[in-house]
Amino acid sequence: MRKGYIDKRQLAVLVILMIMGSYFLVVPRTMAYYAGSGGWLGVPLGALGGVIVASLVIPLHRRFPSHDLIGMSEVVLGKWLGKAWSLLFFLYTLSFAAVTREFSTTLLTPFLSDSPIGPVIVIGMIIMSYLAFSGIESIARTAQVFLPLIVISILLILVTSISSGDIGRNQPWLGKGPASLAMAGLNAGAVFGEIAVFTVFLSHLRRTNDDLAALGWGIFLSLVPLTLITIGGISLFGHEGVTTLAFPAISIARRIKIGIYFERLEALFIILWFVLSMLKIGLILVASVITLAGIFELKTYQPLVLPTAVLSILLSLQFETDYSVLQFVDKFTTYSLPFAILIPGLILLVAIIRGKREVQQ
């Protein structure tokens, strides 16, 4: 199978997709839940988590420019330990895909209340498997096609929230104090830490040294709208009101009016963010099947896509109610940060100690 190549800009888009894909919709709620009116500060604190993960992922990539995670860990940790470590990563991405998939269905609940959920899951599965099947290059291009729409939707939501809300509701700006801010930061940090998945994809970069710029811009360009939407959400609903909303960003979208004719456009926004979460699941799924194929030393990962997708769907059906998904999303992120730091971190540490690096040809 041909190895796809992506450039700097595409990688940055994928990083933004990874961080904001599902988080943009819920960030005001989680931030306000942990830090009250100081929630806006949680996002930049969380971005530090992203920076930490990036500072592990980038040196690792520079050491092994053409290896993905499984390749690196086998070289560094030895064959069997490396495979075991990659299996851990596979489980991480699999559960991650499961959570995001369930999240995407939850997103659709408002206007799919009458239809059976089965076909909806099957349609979602077809899309995510097709994305994963097509590979990283295709996902990047598809994301770029939808990018203008996504930017417009983010701008509309931000402008509406900030223009019709009351910024004063963000006071006191530091919220409930340092401890609560740290909790909020940890939560946001877990989301930013999701870029650990890019250990698999960095080897697809056309130029090795573009990794820093792409990850940096990706983190920065996600940080700004996430901070602004938190401020906007709190100024519109107050930090207590916003914690009662499932998807604050969609609630803001409900208030968008263009002219006097176009209103109640939230269906369009839900659909758009459904597209985004599908792209995100596709991305995670590719990472997990590439790793699985590496573990079993298969030539191509494509035969594994459908079984893995089914597996992640079965896993996601463990959630009983929509609310439990949202609750789990909050918890899962706290579990995910140690994973995100540990998986590339350990490989990097051992690589430094053992002095392993890729032999330049």
């Binding site: 659709l108 206007f111 799919l112 899309i127 598809t142 939808f146 269906a267």
Partner: protein
């Protein structure tokens, strides 16, 4: 001319007819009669259009019998009369060079260089070669005692003249279109690009048809990898006859299971010339007025040649219009169904009421209604295409009545749906290439079903699958959606059409050998006011 083929399957290739194998591969004998018999045996002794004309060349000391063989209708008889038979009959006695004897050895050269007065001649030594030349329209001269035959280029057959483009009419651009004859087509291109670097690599495809195919590209501009790739794929084509260029497309495209055409088709020489100058490769197939251009991209869906003849602002607006009509033609009916069935709240209240009132008397569900109307439109469209033109307009009127008035008054469709379907149908005609419109037209049906089932969610799922598919597609290795994610190029000549003097570079995604097309600073002069100039000149002249 015939390219050697290597079949992977040796057993199979033994049973297959090899191109260019007619009879035995024997050399010509010295006996004229033997040669004629051998050739007419292969070509069929009763063949009415194979003409053998025998005559005697008055060489000295003794006259030599000879014959010409040609196919009536393919070869030019005036050339025969005045340039071949006349000189051979009457001038054979002349001694052009007094010192040299005409001997058996120099007879061939004597005929070729001293007697025949056609511009193009060559020699063939085997029967097969001679026959291959004759069937392409050349004339073979066989002479007693010679083991080679003199081949005269006499190709000239009835063909359609250069006419107006039928499917890509233009208001201001040139009104020439390609014809079915490959030589005319190559000449049309040569006249537009008078560069010695314009390459026309010829090859023949078709085991029995021997169809001429020309690969046109520009040395120093086109990336040689494309030319190499096209030749590789064309060489691998194994087909009996090649009457339609569409057949070739199926052999050489990257993704044979995709509904999207991965080869651009045009009948306008100016468009092909522009494409070649951008660094693309054109494929001309003899017998077809449509020229294929590879690699192609999705942007050809909203680009026409005429964009470059109109002012750039309007060309840009027209491109945006076409982009909208792409969305319109494939999505509008589905969007109507999704919104009326699932998302009424998105409509402004007065409009929603109007929709509901219009649908009140229609007993069918919206998606059945839409399917009926779209199908009916398809019928009118297809009928209009096939019927002779006088009847065609009648069909148009009947169709309009059937679709519009009658369907509404029979409560089969709501007036709003009629508008929606008509708009989407109209939009699909805007696209510059027929096969592109075809894809979008047939995408309507799955979209209607999806949005009938799951509203906007289903529709989005469908759109996503199409977008992923388009992201996967390549044409000759170039991603199909290519310049869309390169903002600079996308704005220069994809969504927008900037002024010509700003298009200094060729599209970079085609990886041309020479990226720069024009000088960087073109409009560097100041517009001079002619009035003051004349006044100044007048003053200077006075003293």
């Amino acid at each position: 001319m015939v390219t050697p083929r290597k079949s992977a399957d040796q057993d199979l290739s033994e049973q297959l007819h090899e191109p260019g194998q007619h009879g035995s591969d024997e050399g010509l004998s010295t006996s004229l009669q033997e040669n004629i018999t051998a050739i007419t045996e292969v070509m069929g002794a009763d063949n009415a259009d194979v003409i053998v004309r025998k005559f005697i060349i008055g060489t000295q000391p003794k006259p030599t019998p000879a014959a010409i063989i040609y196919i009536d209708g393919l070869a030019d008889t005036t050339v025969h009369q005045f340039s071949i038979i006349q000189p051979l009959l009457y001038l054979g006695t002349l001694r052009k060079d007094n010192t040299a004897e005409v001997t058996q050895e120099n007879l061939a050269n004597y005929i070729r260089y001293c007697l025949i007065s056609t511009p193009n001649s060559s020699e063939a030594t085997t029967r097969q070669e001679v026959i291959n030349k004759i069937i392409t329209g050349d004339t073979a001269i066989l002479v007693e005692g010679l083991t080679q035959s003199i081949i005269i280029d006499t190709k000239s057959w009835e063909h359609r003249g250069v006419g107006e483009p039928k499917t890509e009419a233009s208001v201001r651009g040139p009104h020439e279109a390609f014809t079915e004859t490959i030589r005319v087509n190559t000449a049309l291109l040569r006249r537009r690009i008078r560069s010695p670097h314009l390459r026309m690599d010829m090859m023949q495809i078709g085991r029995r048809s021997h169809t001429d195919v020309a690969i046109v590209w520009m040395e120093g501009v086109t990336n040689p990898n494309y030319v190499h790739e096209v030749k590789k794929r064309l060489n691998a084509v194994d087909v009996d006859i090649l009457p339609y260029e569409g057949m070739l497309e199926e052999f050489i495209e990257d993704n044979p299971y995709s509904p999207f055409p991965q080869v651009q088709i045009t009948e306008r020489p100016d468009r092909v010339a522009a494409a070649i100058s951008e660094g693309r490769v054109a494929i001309i197939i003899d017998g077809n007025p449509m020229i294929q251009i590879v690699p192609t991209t999705f942007s050809t869906y909203f680009q026409t040649g005429e964009d470059y003849t109109e002012r750039w602002m309007f060309a840009t607006l027209l491109r945006i219009l076409r982009l909208l009509s792409i969305i319109n033609s494939s999505l509008l009916p589905a969007l109507y169904i999704a919104i009326t069935n699932y998302h009424q709240e998105m409509l402004p209240t007065p409009l929603a009421l109007a929709f509901a009132a219009a649908r009140e008397s229609v007993p069918l569900p919206a998606f059945v209604e839409a399917l009926i109307m779209v199908l009916a439109l398809e019928l009118v469209r297809e009928a209009g295409l096939r019927l002779p033109s006088p009847v065609g307009s009648t069909v148009g009127i009947v169709g309009a009545l059937l679709l519009g008035e009658a369907a509404v008054s029979a409560n089969l469709a709501s007036p709003i749906l009629v508008i929606v379907v008509a708009l989407s149908g109209l939009s699909s005609f805007i696209l510059p290439q027929y096969s592109q419109g075809l894809v979008l037209r047939f995408m309507v049906y799955p979209f209607i079903l999806l949005s009938a089932g799951w509203g906007l969610f289903g529709l989005t799922a469908g759109i996503m699958v199409i977008v992923i598919h388009l992201s996967n597609l390549t044409s000759l290795g170039v991603p199909y959606l290519e310049p869309l994610w390169r903002p600079k190029q996308a704005f220069r000549d994809t969504f927008f059409r900037l002024p010509m003097w700003l298009m200094q570079k060729r599209p970079g995604f085609l990886r041309p050998r020479d990226l720069q097309r024009q000088r960087q600073k073109i409009r560097s002069w100041e517009p001079a006011s002619l009035e003051t100039d004349q006044d100044n000149q007048g003053k200077k002249e006075q003293p």
